[in-house]
């Protein structure tokens, strides 16, 4: 009796241990064979910052560590602000950030950089932001930015408002009230959405862009998934979210120039590629001033550009080598296609990718 009582769990444990360990053995095998071809990089790389980059970073880390089995990469998606603070204080080797370093941050010292080095912004992740909606009987929706701004500011309250009807002559708009859903937590998505509205409809959207949603109207929801959930389950709802998460929801086209443009990875990449760099910065700093006011209908200006913040010269050269290898992978063709499939990112244009590669080449 006692044997069966204690024996059974023991047998299960042994079987489970065998099964699990054999699994691990299978996984280890290809990594070992890769090691022969991979470079001899070793060490631990620490990064922190943007949660928008979170899922892409996971995919990048998995692929990079498979190719370089002696390297450990840690990325803490603690948020852009926290990531920048950690990087400045020297707690991480690189940072992910949805906004580039401010001038006053650049003027200070970076603990991880050598005294002769400085920190630079490198765009590595471009994600279009989709305006999603769930309105009964409406499949296609065209919105220009003043209308979009008024909806999210609470000035337009019903779907059959003349302003919306004028833009959608073919649609049958219901009398339903509009529930505009925004992020209730701080988010780079909100900041970019806000920036777009602030630049394209400055008369309506008077608040400066920031991580929290600026107005006390509409409905808040936690995280991208919370917004998507709220829009999906509600009636007469509209919201904004990373385009990759829009799913089967209706996606509004936004007005660019004279035409209404839906998001595509190409259009998002195009607007970033043709946007100017932020002025008054070092040549190696690739901070992009996204051209929200573009009138070219092949552009989709409602995008989020997320950066990797790195030093041009590291206090510890070994860390410099690691950062160089890892960020080169992120910004390279492989890394960008991994990010596209993992997080729905739009790949960097070839021109921009070359610029990033050139800066990375000089990292010491």
């Amino acid at each position: 009796m006692n044997f069966t009582r204690f024996g059974r769990p023991a047998v299960i444990a042994v079987v489970a241990a065998l099964a699990l360990s054999s699994c691990a053995a299978n996984e280890a095998a290809p990594a070992a064979s890769d090691a022969a071809t991979a470079s001899a990089l070793t060490g631990t790389l620490t990064g922190a910052g943007s949660s928008a980059q979170g899922s892409a970073q996971e995919a990048w880390i998995a692929a990079f560590q498979t190719a370089n089995p002696d390297v450990t990469v840690n990325y803490d998606p603690s948020g852009s602000g926290a990531g920048r603070a950690t990087f400045i204080a020297g707690g991480s080797d690189f940072a992910g950030s949805d906004s580039y370093l401010k001038d006053e941050e650049l003027a200070g010292t970076f603990a991880a950089c050598a005294p002769t080095g400085k920190a630079v912004d490198l765009p590595v992740y471009i994600s279009p932001i989709a305006v999603i909606f769930n309105v009964e009987g409406v499949k296609d929706l065209n919105l220009d930015s003043p209308t979009l701004a008024k909806i999210f500011k609470g000035d337009i309250t019903t779907w059959n408002d003349p302003a919306i009807a004028a833009l959608n002559p073919k649609a049958t708009l219901p009398t339903t009230a509009i529930t505009a859903v925004h992020r209730s937590d701080d988010s780079g998505t909100t900041k970019n959405f806000s920036d777009y509205l602030n630049q394209t409809a400055p008369d309506v959207w008077t608040e400066k862009p920031g991580d929290p949603f600026p107005y006390q109207t509409g409905e808040g929801a936690k995280g991208t998934s919370g917004v998507v959930d709220a829009v999906t389950n509600g009636t007469g709802t509209i919201g904004y979210a990373d385009a990759s998460r829009a799913g089967k929801l209706g996606v509004a086209k936004i007005k660019v120039g004279d035409k209404f443009v839906g998001y595509t990875a190409e259009a998002a990449a195009a607007v970033v590629a043709e946007s100017p760099l932020v002025e008054g910065r070092d040549a190696s700093d690739l901070a992009i001033k996204v051209d929200r006011l573009t009138t070219d209908p092949t552009h989709y200006p409602l995008v989020l550009v997320s950066y990797a913040l790195v030093c041009t010269e590291y206090a510890k050269p070994a860390q410099g080598e690691l950062v160089k290898a890892y960020v080169s992978y992120m910004a390279g063709t492989d890394g960008q296609s991994v990010a596209a499939s993992a997080g729905g990112a739009a790949p960097l244009s070839a021109d921009l990718a070359d610029k990033v590669a050139a800066v990375l080449e000089s990292i010491k």
């Binding site: 926290a82 009230a177 929290p212 929801a221 389950n233 009636t235």
Partner: protein, 314 residues
Amino acid sequence: MTTIVARDTIRAPQRAGDRIFSTATVVAGSLILAVLAAVAAFLLVQSLPAFVATPADFKGDAANFWAYVWPLAFGTLWSALLALLIAIPLAIGIALFISHYAPRKLAQGLGYIIDLLAAVPSVVFGLWGIGVLAPLLQPFYTSLVEWFGWIPLFAGPVSGTGRTILTVSIVLAVMVLPIITAICREIFLQTPVLYEEASLALGATRWEMIAMAVLPFGRSGIISASMLGLGRALGETMAVAMVLSPSPQVIFALLTSQNPTTIAANIALNFPEAHGTGVNILLATGLVLFVITLAVNMVARVIINRRKAFSGAN
């Protein structure tokens, strides 16, 4: 032959077991005080910078810490109060059904199910609230606003998703229900059978017997059960953060998109991206929550002590 033994020389022999046990209980007893003191000290020290923070450090329009925390404190108390208003009558009803009305077998099964409800993690309640309850209630809210919009509580415009403070309160009520029910049931079962039989013998109906014997006997138990439930409702984080559409204002309307949020949910939402003074501000709101719960518990203690004569303990 008499020997007078001095009083202080009589002593029970000290046994190792006694000493170890008494030391262990003293350690256990003081440990809880030490932990509480450590938490309070941590909160106090960490929240000091928040009290002198400049308006730029606060999200929204708050000019100072008190203006920032006031709507949150209000939301915390308001949602917990609504939850208790829903949960207490329901819990007393369920407890009475189990203790006095249901056939024994059914009562046992029902008791287990209620206890099971207490074991469901709050994140699951959050998912249920956002995925099932809110869409289910939304059409009901729409008609409520249409018909009863003139009552300030039900003022429009109605939320299109149903993720309002009323939905949150219902979720919270479901969460605190098992706690209140379980304690009430135990208290009601302790009513002396003599009292019950006496009132029945005097010609009382079953309801009259409950009103005259069971409820007065269990009153302080009901209060302490409610206070335990209140404690959970005040501190509930995940379900509120997931379900509620928050807005930092003091609003009494139950069905709009703008709802006062709770301290715990606000911390959960904003902590991941907070840095610098932002962290101190959030911790300071935590201190306020700590003080509120402490105050609520003390008030409950006072109420229970006042009615000690009828408590279930004697």
